[in-house]
């Protein structure tokens, strides 16, 4: 889109004048549109790196999400985001925590201190997570092979209350996660199965085959 090209050209050399939150919002916007503008991304990366300590959890999450969506494997930036996220973890709300988990898992970066920080920060507030946030975080942990039984048990208790809000993708990803981690929580999986039955007409072949695999694996 010409307007976005003009914004990128104008913003790239002037990012030092941006508040960090606007740098992160700009990164988020281009990634949401899957517009890969390398000049802009490099400029955002350099500027965000140099001012990473000014970023709050929301901006850190937007930056991490943008890298993940763009498949932009910028290791120094992602390491800086992870350290800054750990430092700000106590200020992070469920949306930020699930975004951190989803972004790093999508890039297949297993940053153990970050994952530990996300687990400890989320555990006492899992009941405040929305359906999408729970589904994304569980999927992320399983993708990275993080098997934290108390966390998975608490997540299941929160998720079971919200299963009516889950769509096919959330249900199949959640079943897949518990199967991959070999956590056979029967009441939770029964509840998922019940929900799947009620929504079966919404399922595509990919969801159906993942779901079958998960139940078979357990």
């Amino acid at each position: 889109m010409p307007w976005l090209d003009a914004i990128a050209a104008q913003a790239s050399p002037k990012l030092s004048e941006f508040d960090v939150q606007y740098i992160a919002i700009t990164a988020w916007a281009y990634s949401n549109l899957t517009i890969f503008n390398e000049t802009l991304l490099q400029a955002i990366s350099a500027e965000a790196m140099s001012r990473i300590d000014e970023c709050g959890p929301q901006s850190l999450a937007n930056l991490a999400l943008s890298c993940a969506r763009q498949k932009y494997m910028d290791e120094p930036l992602l390491a800086a985001i992870a350290s800054a996220a750990i430092a700000k973890i106590s200020e992070s709300i469920p949306l930020n925590l699930s975004n951190f988990a989803w972004a790093f898992a999508t890039l297949l970066i297993h940053d153990a201190p970050l994952i530990d920080a996300i687990s400890s920060q989320s555990l006492p507030q899992l009941q405040d997570f929305g359906a999408q946030q729970l589904a994304n975080t569980v999927w992320a942990f399983a993708s990275l092979g993080v098997s934290n039984r108390p966390w998975l048990d608490s997540t299941a208790s929160s998720a079971i209350q919200l299963l009516h809000e889950y769509g096919p993708q959330g249900l199949s990803n959640t079943a897949w996660a518990y199967a991959k981690l070999l956590v056979n929580d029967s009441p939770f999986l029964d509840a998922i199965a019940e929900e799947v039955r009620a929504k079966i007409h919404q399922f595509h072949s990919q969801n159906l085959s993942n779901m079958s695999w998960s139940f078979a694996a357990l």
């Binding site: 307007w3 914004i7 104008q10 004048e17 941006f18 606007y22 700009t26 988020w28 916007a29 549109l33």
Partner: protein, 122 residues
């Protein structure tokens, strides 16, 4: 009128009766609206989460007519307001886009970032 709506939004006062009256009066005088008033009005109704389809359509039509007179903040506020209220209006987007590109060097950081956000959200 636009500044009254703007003030209500800034204070998050959701007085539906009053805002309905403002919308109705605005519709009668829409052709007198200038860039700042269009941006403020669209922003106010979106911010308060009470999008008024008829009003937004009329504001869009007026914005298209006077887009060459709109300043950069009016352009980004209008784009933001339409994105927030999930009103995708292609002709408006086209008009704002042409004006924004023409004036791109005048945008400040916030205007650039919020325009990008709006285009990604709309």
């Amino acid at each position: 009128m636009a500044s009254t709506a703007w003030a209500f939004a800034k204070l998050m006062v959701k007085n539906a009766h009053c805002l309905d009256a403002i919308a109705a009066a605005s519709l009668r005088n829409i052709c007198e609206f200038e860039g700042q008033q269009i941006g403020n009005m669209a922003w106010a109704f979106s911010k308060l989460g009470i999008p008024n389809g008829q009003l937004l359509d009329a504001l869009a039509a007026q914005a298209i007519g006077i887009s060459s007179d709109m300043g950069t903040q009016e352009i980004s506020n209008t784009a933001w307001a339409f994105a927030t209220s999930m009103m995708k209006n292609e002709p408006l987007l086209h008009a704002l886009s042409s004006e924004a590109i023409r004036k791109i060097t005048l945008f400040d950081a916030q205007g650039l970032a919020m325009s990008a956000w709006s285009l990604a959200t709309i």
